[in-house]
Subunit: 321 residues, 2 copies
């Protein structure tokens, strides 16, 4: 199943979001324009806009208002990607060279800041303090999640609780807020907002766990970056945590896991994690989150859009790229 199938019926509104994204990032500065265009053209699933628009269908669907929210959220996501690449020393993202590898760290940082500013400019079109506060909180949590990830690098004694809290902040909260803000911008009831929030949170958790699984099970071609990249950088994800707690595989992994390890060592570690059953365990956790995501939808009016949200969660948690 392809993600495009979920977008049926939303093509017009998503094209409008795309157009607004381009408009918001238009600038006369050549380097900045090239970097932004590069980022826009690299595509991405535009998942956050999709969550905003779909959530908005449960209230008074106002395309312009929802687009402002969707564009702001996607820009924040894009800014965080640009900043991620600065610290990750990533050369490739979505199969294309990163802004950083093309223009250097300095330029990437200010490009990210510029995109943040554009998100703020876009959101300023909506006169709702609660919305502004919520978005500020989302960025704040995202930063804390990233900082925790740096703090926890190469920490082989980390726990599942620490991992889950970190990915909640780093990833799930922004997806949770995409659903909540979409619902709020459409004037949904507080019950509906809460349901969509729960849905977004659990889907976001499953999304990140799946992302962490794909670092082991996918291919360089599909990922757009080498397999085992997280592990190479010392990012202890759920499959690794599971393997580390295994008596057989734990010690072998600990011996290999250190900074500047060779590509061969990375491949050995990837194999160890897979053999330990860490992937199945992580998939099991993701599945439990997906079941909970569906429970969140129960308060919503049944129909096509609720079915789409449910299918989208399943897709997100089982995707292969």
């Amino acid at each position: 199943m392809n993600i495009a199938e979920f977008y049926q019926g939303m093509e017009g509104d998503l094209a409008f979001v795309e157009q607004q994204l381009h408009k918001q990032l238009h600038t006369t500065n050549h380097v900045l324009k090239d970097a932004s265009t590069q980022l826009l053209d690299a595509g991405g699933k535009r998942l956050r806009p999709v969550f905003v628009l779909l959530s908005g269908t449960f209230g008074q669907y106002d395309r312009l208002r929802l687009t402002h929210v969707a564009v702001a959220l996607e820009l924040i996501h894009m800014a965080s990607l640009v900043h991620d690449d600065v610290v990750d020393h990533a050369q490739m993202r979505r199969g294309r060279p990163t802004v950083k590898s093309l223009y250097g760290n300095k330029m990437s940082m200010y490009t990210g800041d510029y995109i943040f500013a554009q998100a703020l400019a876009n959101l300023a079109e909506i006169d709702d303090p609660l919305l502004h506060k919520t978005l500020a909180l989302a960025i704040e949590r995202m930063c804390i999640g990233e900082i925790e990830q740096i703090r926890d690098l190469f920490k082989t004694d980390s726990t599942m609780r620490v991992y889950l809290r970190r990915i909640r902040r780093k990833t799930a909260f922004l997806i949770e807020m995409s659903c909540a803000l979409g619902a709020m911008a459409a004037g949904c009831s507080s019950l509906e907002v809460a349901g969509l929030r729960r849905y977004g949170y659990y889907t976001g958790m499953a999304f990140q766990i799946t992302d962490d699984i794909l670092d082991f099970t996918s291919t360089e071609e599909r990922l757009g970056k080498p397999v085992g990249s997280d592990l190479r950088q010392g990012n202890i994800t759920l499959p690794v945590l599971y393997a580390l707690q295994d008596t057989t595989y734990g010690q072998k992994l600990r011996n290999l896991l250190h900074e500047d390890c060779s590509p061969e060592d990375v491949l050995s570690m990837v194999r160890l994690v897979i053999e330990s059953g860490g992937i199945e365990f992580a998939q099991h956790v993701a599945d439990r989150y997906l079941a909970k995501a569906n429970e969140g939808l129960a308060v919503l009016t049944p129909g096509k859009n609720r079915i789409t949200l449910s299918a989208l969660a399943t897709f997100v948690g089982k995707r292969d790229h």
Copy 2:
């Protein structure tokens, strides 16, 4: 003359701003808390809050409302300092180790992003879309200014026009907006807002030119970083531009000015720029901006606060640290 003299009568309100800054940056994350506290304790002149509060006295002075604006602006300024240090490889700022030198590039970037988010959270307390848009524009311009600065590094064929446009974006616009937003938040007339805006713009230009002069004329102790730091990084400021256009000094400077030059070369260049008369020229340009800053004040009600603003501009353009 000491800057503290300008703050007489504002001590209470500035202490309140300080308290709110601490409150806004309070977090349970240890690294982030340490980094933020380090930054707050390092002090700084809190110039932007002072401009906001003083501008606010020309309208309906609402302490809480003005504090929200002041805190947002100071946080944006602080975030930009943290990000500056990442790209500048600066070890010291305001005489203390930078966040970057203590915690590394990765942490600094997310600390900066976190502070941006806190600025947004603070501003969300004020329900005024125009204010939000203006602030977004200020951040956007600041980023473009920084990007232009990177683009123009070591460009010995740059022009005064390029330099002035860059510092307008990088520095003057945020000071211009401190005055304008303070006036707007206090409900000043559009004539008063425009006057304070002009004042802020010209004062901001003089501020940056003076900053660029101090890189040559001050001491490491006062600057809190080595003399000639801008030049070492290839930042072609106004005194350098003047020297470069001189037939005697231009070629000598071009020969020395390159990446990774020795501390001795930096000192030689500092001497060349001083001997060329570049400092006097830059001071002359700053003085012209200061005169224009005072013209902006003409539309305001005469009195103590107008006198303070005028004296503050003079101080900013003639300070020795």
